[in-house]
């Protein structure tokens, strides 16, 4: 989807374009996170239920990453810059 130019009102408020809200499943009364990095502001939807940590741990566990993988990554970092 292309970037869109929208107007900021006097209170500093903006309206997120409908299509973007639909794509991200953002509905009235949902919470969004607003993040800042120099010259850019990002908006994304957040979820905060109790099971979310376990869900993340289970999801990453399925990827079966190990300490050996980390050692390989560190080796590749150093070799890439030679």
């Amino acid at each position: 989807m292309e970037d869109q130019i929208i107007k900021v009102n006097e209170k500093g408020q903006i309206t997120l374009p409908v299509k973007m809200r639909e794509l991200e499943g953002i509905r009235p009364n949902d919470f969004v996170r607003v993040s800042y990095v120099p010259n850019m502001i990002f908006v994304d939807k957040v979820e905060g239920n109790e099971d979310v940590v376990q869900d993340i741990m289970d999801s990453f566990a399925k990827l079966e990453l190990t300490d050996e993988d980390w050692e390989q990554i560190k080796k590749e970092r150093r070799e890439a810059d030679r």
Partner: protein, 133 residues
């Protein structure tokens, strides 16, 4: 505490390390803040594809992680990569490390979650802690 996450931490999650889980819970509860440089996903993806994992599985894990409260995926911006270049030159650290270090500096993180000793000099000079277990 505001943490910048190295790929090491994502591997700790995969290994279900208790301390990694604790940090994730602190983030969920709003006590800690996690900044995840997007370049960690590049390393993760490359190694997982090499291991025969599918992109859908990788996307799913990343999508879940980025939706947790107080966890922020840091995109690679012009300012960030220019600072990374300076760090890489000044401290003689690899490019990927320098992007993570640059993220920690520009996003005003208190610590980098890693066991990579390459960051030691950078962290000392910039008053950033190295946290691992």
């Amino acid at each position: 505490m505001r943490y910048c996450v190295d790929t090491w931490f994502l591997i700790q999650l995969s290994e279900k390390k208790e301390k990694a889980e604790r940090i994730l819970k602190e983030s969920r509860d709003g006590k800690d803040h996690l900044v995840v440089p997007s370049i960690t996903f590049t390393e993760l993806t490359r190694i997982l594809l090499h291991k025969g994992k599918k992109m859908e599985e990788i996307y799913e894990s990343i999508r879940k992680l980025e939706k947790i409260n107080k966890t922020q995926i840091s995109n690679t911006t012009k300012e960030l990569v220019l600072e990374a270049g300076k760090i890489s030159f000044s401290f003689g650290i690899p490019t990927v490390d320098s992007i993570i270090a640059s993220t920690a500096k520009l996003m005003k993180c208190d610590a980098i979650l890693t066991d990579d000793s390459d960051y030691t000099k950078f962290c000392k000079q910039n008053n950033i802690k190295l946290k691992n277990w």
